[in-house]
Symmetry: C2
Subunit: 93 residues, 2 copies
DNA sequence: GAAGGTTACGCACAACGTAAACATG
DNA sequence: CATGTTTACGTTGTGCGTAACCTTC
């Protein structure tokens, strides 16, 4: 029930461990990112990041998710790319 | 850029090949489904379904996508499940 | 003329940015 | 007290259902 946008946000935040930088990379405000991540955590029923107002760290669950998501998202992108390719002629057999 | 909701809709429609039934399974109206699918096609720049007002069929690109998506979506769900599991105690080592 | 897909239209909810608030090093 | 995350608030845009429309058998 989290959407792709939300999952990609989690991945970027896991890389940056900083809401400001991650939000900039995503082209949204830090507060928007904060809300997105909290929403994901609420939907999953899992805390992914341990925040203090000075630091952001991954929890065990967050690390697990951040580890597995990129491959899953790439596979998804490959499926979409395959569909595009099939329309743009394919081998033109 | 299509979201998960949209991709799942494509999968269901590919299974049903009928907007009414697919929409019912998704818990939305047929018109909403029609719009979702058209939006996906526009974003991908690919026609996925060949519609007449009597039949719905998969195009080559649509078949390709419908074939690859389920596995990709499952992998994504596994990533989410893994995160959940990690929080709910794991092995409680 | 019935069944099924699409377009028009009005509305409601979700998501955003700005700004203020709060916490921590 | 500077840096960085979160909450409040008002606004906008996205997505929906209902209903009307068009096409095909």
């Amino acid at each position: 029930m989290p959407e792709l946008r939300d999952l990609r946000s989690v991945v970027v935040l896991a890389e940056e461990l900083h809401f400001g930088r991650a939000a900039a990379r995503l082209g949204i405000s830090a507060s928007a990112l904060s809300r997105r991540v909290r929403a994901v955590e609420a939907e999953l029923g899992v805390v992914l990041f341990e925040r203090t107002s000075r630091t952001v760290e991954l929890t065990e669950a967050g690390r697990e998710l951040a580890t597995r998501l990129p491959a899953a998202l790439r596979q998804l992108d490959r499926a979409l790319a395959a569909a595009r390719w099939h329309s743009d002629g394919g081998w033109q057999v």
